[in-house]
């Protein structure tokens, strides 16, 4: 069984069905991306894995079924979700945001080390450690969101459009750090992106969603060379 195994996953917003039985899997240590147009169900897929929407179907993480569990319980398995809109706690300091990321941990010493590690990846956050997080720039808040997720010592990170609204240079920097986190710390990643080029560059596997269904899947190379994907999502 794969590290993350999703089978026949359906998701509902009230009476509206957003996912129509999608199945995919992710290997430990890998980066998988979910591509698709607006409204295809990318964000919903991440929310469904985290128990933030009503779902049917199976989700298993490292051999344990997490479908139907509460979000705050799923997090404790080591699943860190970097949500759409960054989910910053705007009224507290940058450092308190990171502290909150480690809320479910009880190993205070290791938490302090991890905070330094996050500051190592993102020195800008250290400069702004006592600043109210709501006053950070968009790029800094995205770094904070990734940093907050790292504070969980996650085994799997769910990243929802980390490039959204950021300047190209910042995006490049951020994706480089994500690659380092994946390679050096072995954190598996499930990445949702509008920017298909960017995503395929980072990921090893990809799935293409259309209106709540998986239509194509394969390695990043296969997907990059797929005629439909190239024309519709990569634009050449």
């Amino acid at each position: 069984m794969a590290f993350l195994d999703v089978a026949n996953l359906e998701a509902f917003y009230g009476p509206i069905q957003a996912l129509h039985g999608i199945s995919f899997s992710l290997e430990q240590g890998g980066i998988t991306t979910i591509l698709g147009a607006n409204g295809a169900g990318k964000t919903t897929t991440l929310r469904a894995i985290c128990g933030m929407v009503k779902t049917n179907g199976q989700v298993s993480f490292d051999g344990e079924s997490i479908a139907g569990k509460k979000t705050e319980k799923i997090v404790r398995y080591g699943v860190a979700h970097v949500p759409e809109g960054r989910g910053t706690f705007v009224r507290v300091s940058t450092e308190d945001n990171l502290r909150l990321g480690a809320y479910s941990r009880r190993d205070a010493g290791a938490v302090a080390e991890d905070m330094e590690r996050v500051y190592g990846y993102f020195p800008r956050l250290k400069e702004r450690r006592n600043q109210q997080a709501g006053t950070l720039s968009g790029g800094e808040q995205q770094m904070l969101a990734v940093g907050r997720a790292l504070m969980l010592r996650p085994r799997l990170m769910l990243l929802d459009e980390p490039s959204f609204g950021l300047a190209p240079l910042i995006v490049q920097e951020l994706f480089e750090i994500l690659r380092v986190i994946n390679q050096e710390e072995g954190v598996s990643m499930l990445l949702v992106e509008q920017n298909a080029n960017l995503a395929l560059n980072l990921a090893d596997h990809a799935y293409l969603l259309e209106t709540g269904r998986v239509v194509i899947s394969g390695t990043s190379e296969e997907i990059s060379s797929d005629e439909t994907v190239r024309q519709s999502y990569l634009g050449y």
Binding site: V75, F89, V92
Partner: protein
């Protein structure tokens, strides 16, 4: 303008601060719950009254005042949590009017419940403070001074709790951004229940402290609730510190206005001050202007 001595003014201000401390308790309770669930708890005063009755009962049975005081705080805390878990957790996404009806029902349940159990007669409630201060002063009475001290100590502890403990931080996070809070592993439901527990406990302290002044009876908190609300609104419903300050202000404005303008108009003047502040600062003195996300 009537002839007013400095001593008289200081007396009125200190007395006002003492009553204001109680308004501040209620204002803080109301704001804590408002921040968590976006609704005004009309029953906050009645919950405090009920707590005061419980203390009275324990003392009547022979308990030491301070033992009864702390047991009452613990019971109120548990009761507040139970109210959230049993009644408000299922109403999480209910419309505004559902909440209003439930708050009114709670109000009536506590009010009539206290009347049924302890009767509607007015009772004396003991003050835990000595009848004489260890030093000579005509500026403030012993109960007023003691009540102010107790409330200030409590407010200080609550500030420290929210500012410096992980659970306090988690409670603030859960109230401000519930979805993000869940994503870091915070049980938002548990934090809401803790918030209700704390609010009930703070109200209980206010109720027990003011009971010797207004006497114990089921309707004792009515006026105090109104001033507490006003304090919360003037201070800013989004700012616990502002609400506390607003509560103290309410306590001081009324007696001082009474001195200068006469007791017939003191309430009117207090209200004019409130309305004036709100005209210039519609979200209260320390409230954030809420921008609706679309």
């Amino acid at each position: 303008m009537p002839d007013i001595s400095m001593v008289e003014l200081v007396q009125q201000v200190l007395g006002g601060l003492a009553t204001g401390a109680i308004y501040a308790c209620i204002a803080l309770s109301v704001v804590m719950i408002y921040q968590a669930i976006d609704h005004f708890n009309f029953a906050q005063g009645e919950m405090a009254m009920f707590s005061a009755f419980i203390t009275w009962q324990m003392i009547d049975w022979g308990a030491n005042y301070w033992v009864a005081f702390f047991v009452c705080i613990a019971l109120s805390f548990i009761g507040g949590m139970a109210i959230e878990r049993i009644i408000f957790a299922p109403l999480r996404n209910a419309p505004v009017f559902t909440h209003i009806v439930v708050f009114i029902a709670l109000f009536q349940i506590f009010n009539a419940g206290a009347g049924y159990i302890w009767e509607f007669t007015i009772r004396e409630f003991p003050s835990p403070f000595p009848e004489r201060l260890p030093f000579d002063t005509t500026l403030i009475g012993p109960h007023d001074l003691g009540m102010m001290a107790v409330v200030l100590i409590m407010l200080g502890l609550i500030f420290l709790f929210f500012r410096f403990t992980p659970v306090g931080l988690a409670m603030r996070a859960a109230a401000a951004a519930p979805d993000s809070a869940r994503l870091v592993g915070i049980s938002v439901g548990m934090m809401l229940a803790l918030g209700w527990g704390l609010a009930a406990a703070i109200g209980a302290v206010g109720g027990m402290m003011i009971a010797p002044v207004v006497y114990l009876e089921p309707n004792m908190m009515l006026g105090i609730l109104l001033y507490g609300f006003a304090g919360a609104v003037v201070g800013g419903l989004t700012s616990p510190g502002g609400a506390v300050l607003g509560g103290f202000m309410m306590g001081v404005i009324e007696p001082v206005a009474g001195m200068f303008i006469g007791s017939e108009l003191k309430l009117t003047v207090a209200l004019v001050v409130i309305v004036t502040i709100l005209i210039f600062r519609p979200s209260g003195m320390f409230g954030r202007v809420v921008v609706q996300r679309v």
